[in-house]
C-alpha cells in the first residue's frame, strides 16, 4: 500500500522535465531493481533555482524524485547540507518494507546534489 504522500507525488508529480542548460546533472540508480532517476538543476545565489527530474522505476521511486525536488527548490545548499539523516528520511513519510529502498535513493539524491555543487565550488 502507498501512503497518501507517495500517491500524490507519484500520480501528479510537479517536477518532471528537463532544465535547459543545467548547471548540474546527476543520476541515481539501483542496479538490482532497475530504478533510474536523473536530476537536472540550475543554481542562483547559492540556492537551488530550477530543478527537474526524469525517472524510470517504481511508483515510490518516482514519488521520491518529486519529493526531493520539491524539498530542495529555493533552499540554500547550506541548509540542505545541514539536514540530518532523520530529516531526510522523514521527507518520505511512512513506507512499507518493500518501499524502503527509496530511503537510500533519497539519501543518494542529497549526497549527489551536494557533491556536484561542492565539486563546482572547489
Amino acid at each position: 500500500m502507498y501512503s497518501p504522500l507517495v500517491i500524490e507525488h507519484f500520480s501528479n508529480p510537479s517536477y518532471v522535465g528537463d532544465v535547459p542548460n543545467p548547471d548540474h546533472e546527476f543520476e541515481v540508480g539501483n542496479s538490482v531493481c532497475g530504478d533510474r532517476i536523473r536530476i537536472q538543476l540550475n543554481s542562483e545565489s547559492d540556492k537551488v533555482d530550477q530543478i527537474a527530474f526524469r525517472a524510470w522505476g517504481c511508483a515510490t521511486s518516482i514519488a521520491t524524485a518529486d519529493i526531493f525536488c520539491k524539498s530542495v527548490t529555493g533552499k540554500s545548499y547550506t541548509d540542505i547540507e545541514a539536514r540530518s539523516e532523520g530529516e531526510i528520511r522523514d521527507l518520505l513519510g511512512e513506507l512499507d518494507p518493500p518501499q524502503k529502498h527509496c530511503i537510500d535513493i533519497m539519501m543518494s539524491l542529497h549526497s549527489l546534489l551536494l557533491k556536484n555543487v561542492l565539486k563546482e565550488d572547489a
Partner: protein, 392 residues
C-alpha cells in the same frame, strides 16, 4: 453482483468475488449450527449440507464422492497431496518431477521433501511461451521416479500444460501424480484424462465461491497419509469440525460451475480475443507473455509487457487514477532488491520485459465496455509514465 462494484477489477486469478447465488446459500447456512458428526436429529441438516457439498464437488470433477476431500484452501490441498503421498517413501526417497512454474504451495513442499527427506527433484523448464514440453517430461523420467506434480494452468500466463499425456504416462508407469488445477477449474473444460491423476487440487474462491475452503480429489484414499489426526472427519484423513458456511458456498459454486462453465468459457474467449486486438492496436508496442495460440491457455488470462514502463508503477497509477486492479510481474522487495515472477524468469524473458509485465485476469462479470475502458486508461497511464522517463 453489481457491475459497478466490480468495475475495473481484473485480478480474478488472485480471487473472484462471491456470486449472489453463493452468498445467498452461505447466509442461509449461518443458521445451521448442529455438528455434522453428532448422532442426533439436529445434526441432520448439517450432515446433509456436507454431503451435498461433496456431491456437487464430485459432479464437477466427474469423480466419486468417496474421492473428494475438503481442505481449507488450494495451498493446503497441494501440501497434503505432496507430503501426504511422499510420506510413505520417506525411508526410501526417490525422484520427483515437477515444473519451475508451479505455485509456491507446490514448489515449497517439494523443496522441503528434497532438503529434509532427501528426495531428488527435476524441475521442468517451460518454453518461451510458458508451457512445459511433454518430451522433456518423458526424458526426465527415471526408474526411481515416485511422484509427478504438474499444474494444469499457470496462474500468471494462463498457459495450459500438456496435462493429459503427462498424467496418462505417469499412470501407465504406476507413478503417483498430482495436478494443481486451482487456476483451471471454472475457467476451462477439464481434460477427461484429469482423473488419471492420483490427486487434483482446487479452491472455491477461484470460481466465485468463498475463501477458506478448497478440496482435493484423491483417487485411492487409502494411500494418502492423514493430514490432521483427531475426530475422524473426512474419512479419518483430515479431522476437524466441518466449515459449514464454507461448504454451503462451495456446494453452490460447484453446482453453478457445472451448469454455467460453457457459458463462462465462451465469454472469456470472446473477451480475450477483444482485449488482445485492442492491446495490439494500442500503439504501445505491447509484447505478449504466454501462448500466442489462444487454445493453449485459459481464456480469462492475458499477460503482457508495456515497453519502457515499469509494471509496478503502471499498476499503481491504474489503481489510484482509475480504480483498476491488475497484477504485476515484478515488485520491489526489501532493501534494494526486486522480486521477479519465477514464471516469467523460467520462460527466459529479459529483466526489462519482466519489470514491465502486467497480468490481467477477468471473469464472468467483466464486460466488453470495461475492457475498452481499460485499454484507454492503460494508454493514458503508460503515456504519463513514458513522459516521466523520456527526455523531450
Amino acid at each position: 453482483m453489481s457491475e459497478t462494484t466490480l468495475s475495473g477489477y481484473f485480478d480474478y486469478n488472485a480471487t473472484t468475488p462471491l456470486s449472489n447465488s453463493v452468498k445467498s446459500e452461505m447466509l442461509k447456512a449461518l443458521d445451521i449450527y448442529g455438528n455434522a458428526s453428532s448422532p442426533y436429529s439436529r445434526a441432520q441438516e448439517s450432515k446433509a449440507l456436507v454431503d451435498s457439498a461433496r456431491e456437487n464437488m464430485a459432479q464437477l470433477m466427474g469423480a466419486e464422492t468417496s474421492q473428494m476431500f475438503f481442505t481449507s484452501c488450494g495451498s493446503e490441498a497441494n501440501n497434503w497431496a505432496i507430503k501426504g503421498s511422499l510420506a510413505r517413501h520417506a525411508k526410501n526417497p526417490g525422484h520427483i518431477i515437477t515444473t519451475a512454474i508451479e505455485h509456491p504451495s507446490v514448489l515449497e513442499p517439494i523443496a522441503y521433501m528434497e532438503q529434509v527427506h532427501g528426495f531428488s527433484v527435476t524441475r521442468l523448464v517451460p518454453d518461451v511461451e510458458g508451457r512445459v514440453r511433454e518430451e522433456d517430461f518423458l526424458s526426465a523420467l527415471r526408474p526411481n521416479t515416485q511422484f509427478v506434480s504438474v499444474m494444469y494452468a499457470n496462474n500468471e500466463t494462463g498457459a495450459l500444460q500438456p496435462i493429459g499425456p503427462i498424467l496418462e504416462e505417469a499412470r501407465r508407469r504406476a507413478i503417483t501424480s498430482h495436478t494443481d488445477a486451482v487456476q483451471a477449474l471454472g475457467k476451462c473444460t477439464l481434460d477427461d484424462r484429469i482423473l488419471a491423476a492420483d490427486y487434483v487440487s482446487f479452491s472455491a474462491h477461484k470460481f466465485y465461491g468463498p475463501k477458506g475452503i478448497g478440496g482435493l480429489y484423491v483417487r485411492r484414499p487409502g494411500e494418502l497419509a492423514q493430514l490432521i489426526h483427531g475426530g475422524g472427519q473426512e474419512m479419518g484423513l483430515r479431522a476437524g469440525t466441518e466449515n459449514l458456511v464454507g461448504m454451503a458456498g462451495l456446494a453452490r459454486a460447484s453446482e453453478d460451475c457445472t451448469q454455467l462453465l460453457p457459458e463462462w468459457e465462451s465469454h472469456y474467449r470472446r473477451l480475450r480475443h477483444r482485449i488482445t486486438r485492442k492491446l495490439q492496436d494500442s500503439g504501445l508496442g505491447i509484447e505478449f507473455n504466454g501462448p500466442q495460440d489462444p487454445s493453449k491457455c485459459v481464456g480469462n488470462t492475458i499477460n503482457f509487457s508495456v515497453p519502457g514502463v515499469r509494471g509496478e508503477a503502471l499498476a499503481a497509477l491504474l489503481d489510484h487514477k482509475h480504480q483498476t486492479q491488475v497484477s504485476i510481474g515484478s515488485a520491489c522487495s526489501n532493501n534494494k532488491s526486486s522480486k521477479s515472477s519465477h514464471v516469467l524468469v523460467a520462460m527466459g524473458l529479459g529483466d526489462e520485459r519482466i519489470q514491465s509485465a502486467i497480468r490481467m485476469s477477468f471473469g464472468r462479470y467483466t464486460t466488453e465496455d470495461e475492457l475498452d475502458r481499460f485499454v484507454n486508461n492503460l494508454h493514458a497511464c503508460a503515456e504519463q509514465l513514458l513522459g516521466i522517463s523520456t527526455p523531450s
